[in-house]
C-alpha cells in the first residue's frame, strides 16, 4: 500500500465526508470488476483514513509503514533513468554473463 492520502488524492485536512466522497468517486471510476488491483488499493487507502480515529492512528503509528523495502526496490527499478548502453557495453555485458 502507498500513502493513503496520495492514493485517494486528498489532503491531510480532509474530513470524513470529503474522504468518503472521494472514495466513492474513485470506486465509480475504477470498479473492482474492471480494475481489481487498483480498487483494492483504493479500498485499503480508504480504510486507513476513513475516520478521525483511523487518521490519528495512521499519523501516530503507521505513517510511512507502507514503505517496505520491497516496494522501494520495485519503484526504484521502475523509476530508474534508462541509460543508453552503447554497442560495446551491450556485447561486453552479454559476454561477461556467459563466462
Amino acid at each position: 500500500m502507498t500513502d493513503p492520502y496520495e492514493t485517494l488524492g486528498v489532503t491531510v485536512e480532509a474530513d470524513d465526508v470529503a474522504i468518503r466522497q472521494r472514495y466513492l468517486e474513485l470506486a465509480r471510476e475504477f470498479p473492482p470488476e474492471q480494475h481489481p488491483a487498483r480498487f483494492a488499493a483504493i479500498r485499503a487507502a480508504y480504510e486507513a483514513i476513513k475516520t478521525l480515529e483511523a487518521r490519528a492512528t495512521y499519523r501516530l503509528l503507521d505513517s510511512g509503514r507502507e514503505d517496505t523495502i520491497e516496494s522501494i526496490i520495485d519503484d526504484a527499478m521502475i523509476q530508474m533513468p534508462r541509460r543508453r548502453a552503447g554497442l560495446n557495453t551491450l556485447i561486453a555485458t552479454m559476454y561477461t554473463s556467459q563466462k
Binding site: L52, S63, G64, R82, L87, T96
Partner: protein, 729 residues
C-alpha cells in the same frame, strides 16, 4: 613386487550419459560422448543427437571466443554425415557465426545466402570489425555502428535517419529492429519496445542483446523464461542500467527483520547515499522504511546514525516518538513514558502540517497510551488518572478515552466524576449504546432505578439485538417494580408489568413471576398467589432459588413481618432438605444478582455462608458427575478459593478419573500460591485423564491445562542455573 593394476575401463557410451553431461552444463563433454556413442552404435537417433550437440558445442566455443577449438570442431563436423543438405546449411551457419563467412557462403546456394549473411553480420558487429564482411556490406555495418552512437548520445532522430536505408531484405534488418526497440525502451515506451523485441530471431545476436530490456519491458516475457534465466536477465539489466541503488537496496533488504541489527543496514545505505541524494523521493521513502525498522530491531544508539543519513523525521524531529516505541519494544516502560511525554510536549507546540482535529486526537491517544494498564507505582510523570483526564479533555468525543477514565474512576470509587465523564461523552455521542449502558449501570447501583430504566430502554432502542442490554433492562424493570410495590402503588406495578411484558418474558421470566407473586401477596390476592407459585414450583431445580427470591423480595417490598414469615420458614425448610448441585448453583446465581445490582437487605452477608455450606451436602443428591462439575465451576468463578479446593478434593476422591476436579483443584491452589511442584503434579494427572476420557467436555479442558502448565516455573530451572555456573574445582 606388486602387480600394476589395470586402469578402469572407460564407461560405455550411452544416450543417458550424454544427457547427464549436457544437464551438468558440460556441452563439449556431451558432444564428445555423443561422438563416441554414434561411433559405437550408429543409429539415426544417435546421429541426430550428435549433430545437435555439435551445434551446441560450436555455438558455445564461438560465443566464448575459443576460435582454435571452434575450427577444430568444425573440421570434425564436416566428417559427420557430409552429404546431408540440411546439415550442410547448419554447418555453414555455424561457420558464419564463427567469422568464416566466405567459407560458409561457398557451401550454400542462393536460397540460404541471406540467412548466412545475417550470421556473418552478427559476427562482424560482435567483433566490431567489418573485415569479416564482403565489401558490399560495409556501408550497412557503418550505418549500424553510427546509429548506435546516435542512440547512445540520445539523438534518436539521427539514429532513425541512419537506419532508414536498411530495407526488409537487408542482413542488418535484425539490428535495425533491435535499435528501434532500444530507442523505444529508453523513452519509456515499453509496449513499443516489447513489440520490436518480439520480432527478433531468437537464434541471432540482436535477440540476445535485447533480452535484459525485453524482460524489463514485458512482464509476460519475463514470466515465460525459466526463473534462473529471468534472474540473470535482471542482473544484466542492472549492470547495463547501473546506478548502484537497486543492488544497495537489496543489501539493505537482506539485513531487515526482527532479531537482526541495524549497523549493517546503515553500512549498506552509506554505500549508496551519494546516488540516493540525487533521488530525494527514494531517500525519503527509505528513511521512513528504516524509521519503522529501528522500532523492531534497533537500539537507542542507532538514532545518531539514522539522523546522519536521513536527517530529522518531519513528524518526529527529535526522535522522542521513535525512542518511546523502541523502549516499548524493549519493555522499558519508564523510558517509554518519558519519551511519549516529550513527544506530546512537542505536539502541544502545534507544529505545522498537523490539522487541529488530528493533532488533538493524537495527543489524546498518547495520554491514553501512557495512562492505560500501568500502575502508578514506580512510574515517572503524572498519575494514570491525570493522564486519562488529559486524554478526555483533548478528545471529549472519543469513546475509548472516556471509557478508560470511567473504569479508573469507578475503581477508585469516584462515582460522581465517573458519571460526569459518561454524561459528557453522551453530549457528543447521544446515539451510542455503550455509554448509555455504562451510565445506566452506574445510576442503577446508586439506587436510581427509574433513571437507569430510561437509559437502558434508550440503549435497547439503539441496539435491539444486544442480549446484555435486554437482560439489564428487564432486571431494572423489576427494580422499579420493587420500589413501586414498596411505595404501596400496586396499580403502577401492574402497569409496569404490562408495559414491559415482552421484555420480562424474554429475559427474566422466573424473576418477574416471583415479583408478580410478591405483588399478589401484598394485595392479599391468594388465588393469584397460588397460581403463580404453582407455576414457579413446576420448574426444575428452582426450589431453593424460588424460596430465596420470595423471601428476599417480600422483605424488599416491605411486606409486614408477620405476612412474610411463611416465606422465610419455607426457605429455612428448603435449606434443610437434600440439596441438588444445580439447585445450589441457581441459588448462588440468584443471590449474586442482588449483589451485582447493589441491592442490600438485612442478613445478606450471613446468608451466603449458609448457602455455600450446602456444597458440603450436595453429594447426598447422587446427581450426575457433570452437575457436580458445573457447581465446582461456579465456586471457582465466585473466587471461593478455599471452598473450591475443599470441594475439588472431595469430588476428586469420589471421581478419581475426572480431569475437571483436578483442574479445579490446580486452579484453586495456583491462586492460593501453593507450591508449583504440587500443582504441576495434579495438572499432569488431570491432563492424562482428559486425554483418556471419552467425554468431549473433558478433552476440551486440555488447552486450559496446558496454559496453566506453561505459567508454572520450570521445575529444573534451579538445577540448570546451578550447573550453568560449573562445578567448583
Amino acid at each position: 613386487m606388486a602387480r600394476k593394476k589395470a586402469p578402469p575401463a572407460p564407461p560405455r557410451p550411452s544416450a543417458d550419459r550424454v544427457q547427464a553431461l549436457f544437464a551438468a552444463g558440460d556441452v563439449h563433454g556431451a558432444y564428445l560422448a555423443a561422438r563416441l556413442l554414434n561411433a559405437d552404435q550408429p543409429t539415426a537417433d544417435h546421429l541426430k543427437l550428435l549433430k545437435t550437440l555439435a551445434i551446441g558445442a560450436a555455438t558455445m566455443l564461438e560465443s566464448t571466443g575459443k576460435q582454435f577449438e571452434f575450427n577444430r570442431l568444425m573440421a570434425e563436423a564436416d566428417q559427420i554425415d557430409p552429404q546431408d543438405p540440411a546439415w550442410i546449411v547448419e554447418r555453414a551457419c555455424l561457420l558464419a557465426r564463427g567469422g568464416r563467412l566466405a567459407d560458409a557462403l561457398m557451401r550454400v546456394d542462393e536460397s540460404n545466402r541471406s540467412r548466412i549473411l545475417g550470421y556473418g553480420v552478427d559476427r562482424a558487429l560482435k567483433s566490431r570489425s567489418k573485415e569479416f564482411l564482403p565489401d558490399e556490406l560495409h556501408d550497412g555495418f557503418d550505418a549500424i555502428v553510427a546509429a548506435f552512437k546516435h542512440y547512445e548520445s540520445g539523438d534518436d532522430a539521427a539514429a532513425k535517419a541512419t537506419l532508414e536505408p536498411i530495407g526488409l531484405r537487408s542482413p542488418f534488418l535484425e539490428w535495425k529492429v533491435l535499435l528501434r526497440g532500444l530507442i523505444a525502451f529508453a523513452n519509456g515506451e515499453d509496449a513499443r519496445a516489447a513489440e520490436n523485441f518480439a520480432r527478433l530471431d531468437r537464434g541471432r545476436v540482436p535477440y540476445r542483446l535485447c533480452s535484459p530490456y525485453y524482460a524489463t519491458a514485458d512482464a509476460g516475457y519475463r514470466a515465460s523464461v525459466p526463473p534462473p534465466i529471468a534472474a540473470e536477465l535482471e542482473e544484466r539489466f542492472h549492470r547495463l542500467n547501473s546506478g548502484g541503488i537497486v543492488p544497495g537496496l537489496r543489501e539493505v533488504a537482506k539485513h531487515l527483520g526482527r532479531n537482526r541489527e541495524m549497523p549493517p543496514v546503515f553500512r549498506a545505505v552509506e554505500g549508496m547515499l551519494h546516488a540516493l541524494r540525487n533521488r530525494p523521493g527514494l531517500l525519503k521513502r527509505l528513511g521512513r522504511c528504516l524509521y519503522h525498522a529501528i522500532i523492531y530491531q534497533g537500539q537507542p544508539e542507532d538514532l545518531v546514525r539514522y539522523r546522519q543519513q536521513f536527517g530529522a523525521h518531519p513528524d518526529d524531529p527529535s526522535f522522542f516518538r521513535l525512542q518511546a516505541r523502541i523502549a516499548e519494544e524493549l519493555g522499558e516502560e519508564g523510558l517509554a513514558i518519558r519519551n511519549w511525554l516529550r513527544y506530546e510536549e512537542w505536539l502541544a507546540t502545534k507544529p505545522a502540517g498537523w490539522p487541529e482535529s488530528i493533532l488533538n486526537r493524537v495527543r489524546a491517544m498518547i495520554w491514553l497510551r501512557i495512562g492505560s494498564d500501568l500502575d502508578d507505582e514506580n512510574r515517572p510523570g503524572p498519575s494514570c488518572l491525570d493522564c486519562l483526564r488529559r486524554a478526555v479533555q483533548l478528545a471529549p468525543d472519543w469513546e475509548p478515552a472516556s471509557r478508560e477514565l470511567y473504569v479508573e474512576l469507578v475503581d477508585r470509587k469516584l462515582h460522581e466524576e465517573a458519571e460526569a465523564v459518561v454524561r459528557a461523552l453522551l453530549v457528543h455521542q447521544p446515539d451510542r449504546p455503550e455509554p448509555l449502558q455504562r451510565l445506566a449501570a452506574m445510576v442503577a447501583r446508586q439506587n436510581r432505578p427509574d433513571e437507569a430504566l430510561e437509559l437502558y430502554l434508550r440503549a435497547r432502542t439503539l441496539d435491539p439485538l444486544n442480549e446484555s442490554i435486554g437482560t439489564r433492562a428487564a432486571c431494572t424493570v423489576l427494580a422499579v417494580a420493587r420500589t413501586v410495590i414498596a411505595g404501596k402503588k400496586p396499580a403502577a406495578a401492574q402497569t409496569l408489568f404490562d408495559e414491559h411484558a415482552e421484555l420480562l418474558k424474554q429475559f427474566t421470566p422466573n424473576d418477574s413471576t416471583v415479583m408478580r407473586a410478591v405483588l399478589a401477596k401484598k394485595l392479599g390476592d391468594q388465588p393469584q398467589l397460588e397460581t403463580l407459585l404453582n407455576e414457579l414450583h413446576a420448574k426444575p431445580f428452582r426450589r431453593l432459588s424460588l424460596h430465596f427470591s420470595l423471601a428476599v423480595e417480600s422483605t424488599l417490598v416491605k411486606i409486614k413481618p408477620a405476612d412474610r414469615k411463611d416465606a422465610e420458614q419455607s426457605l429455612a425448610a428448603a435449606l434443610e432438605e437434600t440439596p441438588h448441585p444445580i439447585e445450589v448453583l441457581l441459588l448462588l446465581l440468584a443471590y449474586d444478582m442482588y449483589d451485582e445490582y447493589g441491592i442490600t437487605y438485612r442478613g445478606q452477608k450471613s446468608q451466603i455462608k449458609k448457602f455455600l455450606a450446602l456444597c458440603s451436602r450436595v453429594h447426598e443428591a447422587k446427581a450426575p458427575e457433570e452437575d457436580y462439575e458445573v457447581l465446582g465451576d461456579t465456586l471457582r468463578f465466585r473466587d471461593e478459593l478455599k471452598l473450591t479446593k475443599k470441594y475439588a478434593l472431595e469430588y476428586l476422591r469420589r471421581f478419581p478419573r475426572n480431569p475437571k476436579f483436578g483442574l479445579l483443584l490446580a486452579e484453586a491452589l495456583f491462586d492460593l500460591m501453593e507450591p508449583p511442584h504440587r500443582i504441576r503434579g495434579i495438572l499432569v494427572v488431570a491432563r492424562d485423564h482428559a486425554e483418556r476420557s471419552k467425554e468431549k467436555r473433558h478433552s476440551a479442558l486440555i488447552p486450559r491445562i496446558d496454559e496453566l502448565l506453561q505459567q508454572l516455573p520450570d521445575p529444573f530451572e534451579s538445577l540448570r542455573s546451578f550447573f550453568r555456573g560449573g562445578f567448583p574445582r
